[in-house]
């Protein structure tokens, strides 16, 4: 282990801590919310099938903007497969399901890159005249860097995956191992750590507001009408 290995390991743990503390702080603010909201609270369960369908299909976005929806849905769906593919680095032994998903994961990488480029272009070219949040552009740029380096590592420049696995497993088991000194991997990994620190809050909050919106829409009929 050389000094740079320790630095990268430290940065990794710090990033994780930042992520956890940010999330906890966000939850703490939520809990501080007024309990005396002057509003008739309709405490009812969420229709589960509709909820799952809405979250999985990003239905509300589809209703708002079909063009953006294509990009966002492809991005999120491919991200799921990419995540599954990356599980091989943190699990030992690798479960058969994860093993079987490897080729889907590679394909998902290309789809993900396409989706990010599509979203970036539509934000920069088509939606520039209306509203584009700089933060969203920054996130998309980071994602583009992560995906591009990921795809390049697969396509052009093969990284020693065994060394990557040792390094990642070392991080997970708190037994730091040397960092693979591959420029593409380093950019890929450090950008991922940065993303972890800056992960948007909607990842946690949006599934909750969608559940609430489904209930609210269903209960709207009951405000003045007989249920």
């Amino acid at each position: 282990m050389k000094p740079h290995d320790y630095i990268i390991c430290l940065v990794s743990y710090v990033s994780l801590c930042v992520f956890i503390i940010r999330t906890l702080s966000m939850c703490m603010i939520w809990l501080r919310g007024s309990r005396k909201s002057p509003e008739l609270s309709l405490i009812t369960p969420v229709p589960l099938v509709r909820y799952v369908a809405e979250v999985l299909t990003l239905l509300r976005l589809l209703k708002a903007n079909g063009c953006i929806w294509v990009g966002e849905w492809l991005f999120h769906a491919s991200l799921l497969f990419i995540f599954m593919r990356h599980l091989r680095y943190v699990l030992a032994p690798i479960p058969e399901t994860v093993f079987n998903l490897q080729s889907f994961g590679i394909f998902a990488g290309y789809v993900n890159l396409f989706a990010i480029s599509y979203l970036l272009l539509s934000r920069l070219v088509i939606m520039r005249k209306t509203y584009t949040a700089p933060y969203n552009l920054f996130l998309l740029t980071m994602l583009a860097i992560i995906t591009t380096t990921g795809v390049l590592m697969k396509l052009q420049h093969s990284v020693d995956t065994l060394q990557v696995k040792f390094f990642v497993l070392g991080l997970v088991t708190f037994d730091p191992q040397p960092v693979p000194l591959d420029p593409l991997f380093l950019v890929h990994f450090v950008t991922f750590l940065l993303l972890l620190c800056l992960l948007p809050s909607h990842i946690f909050a949006a599934p909750l507001t969608i559940a609430d919106a489904i209930k609210r829409e269903r209960d709207l009929r009951g405000v003045l009408h007989e249920r």
């Binding site: 503390i21 940010r22 702080s25 966000m26 603010i29 939520w30 809990l31 501080r32 919310g33 007024s34 309990r35 909201s37 002057p38 509003e39 008739l40 990003l58 509300r60 976005l61 209703k63 708002a64 903007n65 953006i68 939606m127 209306t130 509203y131 584009t132 949040a133 933060y135 969203n136 948007p200 809050s201 909607h202 946690f204 909050a205 949006a206 909750l208 507001t209 969608i210 609430d212 919106a213 489904i214 609210r216 709207l220 009929r221 405000v223 003045l224 009408h225």
Partner: protein, 400 residues
């Protein structure tokens, strides 16, 4: 400074909503204020972002460990203006990709700004005093509430299971509407009661929507008890804003479920039509277009009833606005902003009038006193004109 916490007025659900905004910007397409100002700095995602910044600066991790940051007063003022410029129509929330309930979020942000002494703006600040003095937010004498428009032929019962609440905007700014209401109710023939002009005070909506909540509980208790004294079991109202606060907030402000049922007048009229208690002399041969009030369609789900009534009043097919029903487009009258941001309100109202004309309608049918007052006012020096009629006003004129 007391009240440093920006999250105080917001419920846990609303705080989650702030974090849920993806800032995708889709809502801007549906925002009527964007249509007339084109300023993204006062758009829904920007308001959410800035408010979130306020919370982070005063209650976030840095604030906990290093002390809360002083918010730039200019930024606070700009934000307050943006949040009060909004008509709170809720169209942004209706199309929100993560389902944020903005029709409820904006008034709570306003409440926070009022608590800090930065809001409300202009005329809105005079409303609590006017309600205290006269029972209405328009600073007009209570004795004038019914005098101008109440037909002398109408008999109002002292006590009845059925009551009608006219509301301040109808009574003072949209008299043909409330006059139509009582004429239709009278024609249906079921005895109904009304509170006296001094007793029928503001329902609380203008105060609620402008973030001035101090008088709300008192107003609601006073009104509910007055109706209970008259033996009321069913309260009818035609104003969408009054209906909205009565159904959604009165129970919480009263502290328990209301001892009577609140209904929109169109629901009662639809039943009466179905029972054959409303006779229409001769349907109009006109093409009608109906504008859904935001707090009636999105707010309490009254969408089919007005259309059912209109289908009985004309032999032509009803024309619809491009955005109708729950997706309806605000005419500019909402959010207690029409008296303060007049230019915006007129521009939005003219957009509504222009679309109605473009669609080939002979008459624009409204169902809200604020819409009625604004559209008539905005039409005065508008080159494009259309006949504007309230739904009950039209029905009353066609009664057989």
């Amino acid at each position: 400074m007391k009240g440093d916490r920006f999250s105080e007025a917001l419920s846990a659900r609303q705080l989650i909503e702030l974090d849920a905004c993806t800032r995708c910007g889709e809502c801007l397409k549906y925002c009527p204020i964007q249509d007339v100002t084109g300023r993204p700095s006062i758009s829904p995602p920007e308001k959410i972002r800035v408010f979130r910044e306020f919370i982070r600066a005063t209650e976030g991790l840095k604030a906990i460990f290093l002390g809360s940051k002083q918010i730039d007063p200019v930024l606070l003022e700009d934000f307050t203006r943006a949040v009060f410029e909004c008509t709170t129509c809720g169209a942004c929330g209706e199309r929100c990709s993560v389902g944020i309930f903005t029709q409820r979020l904006w008034p709570m942000m306003r409440k926070e700004m009022v608590k800090r002494g930065i809001g409300p703006i202009g005329e809105q600040a005079k409303m609590p005093e006017s309600v205290k003095q006269h029972g209405n937010p328009y600073n007009l004498p209570a004795s004038e509430r019914f005098r101008i428009w109440m037909p002398t032929s109408i008999s109002i019962a002292e006590r009845s299971h059925l009551a009608y609440y006219a509301g301040c905007t109808g009574a003072y700014s949209a008299q043909p509407m409330v006059r139509g209401d009582v004429l239709v109710l009278s024609a249906i023939g079921e005895p109904f009661t009304m509170l006296s002009a001094e007793q029928e005070v503001c329902c609380g909506f203008p105060l609620f929507i402008s973030g001035q909540h101090d008088l709300l509980e008192g107003l609601v208790k006073r009104l509910v008890e007055a109706y209970v004294d008259r033996g009321v079991k069913q309260l009818l109202c035609s104003c969408p804003c009054c209906t909205n606060i009565m159904t959604r907030d009165w129970p919480a402000l009263y502290g328990k479920p209301l001892p009577f049922k609140v209904r929109h007048i169109t629901q009662f009229v639809v039943e009466a039509i179905e029972k054959g208690r409303v006779k229409i002399s001769k349907p109009l041969g006109e093409r009608l277009i109906y504008h859904d009030p935001c707090y009636l369609s999105r707010g309490v789900g009254i969408i089919e009833e007005p259309r059912y009534i209109l289908s009985r009043l004309t032999d032509k097919r009803l024309i619809e606005f491009e955005r109708h029903g729950r997706q309806s487009h605000c005419c500019g009258a909402g959010g207690a902003a029409r008296k303060v941001f007049k230019k915006n309100a007129y521009a939005m109202a003219r957009n509504t009038i222009d679309e109605a004309i473009k669609k080939g309608a002979d008459r624009l049918i409204l169902n809200c006193p604020a819409c009625y007052a604004l559209l008539n006012e905005a039409q005065l020096d508008n080159p494009n004109r259309i006949v504007i009629t309230d739904l009950m006003e039209l029905l009353a004129s066609l009664l057989g």
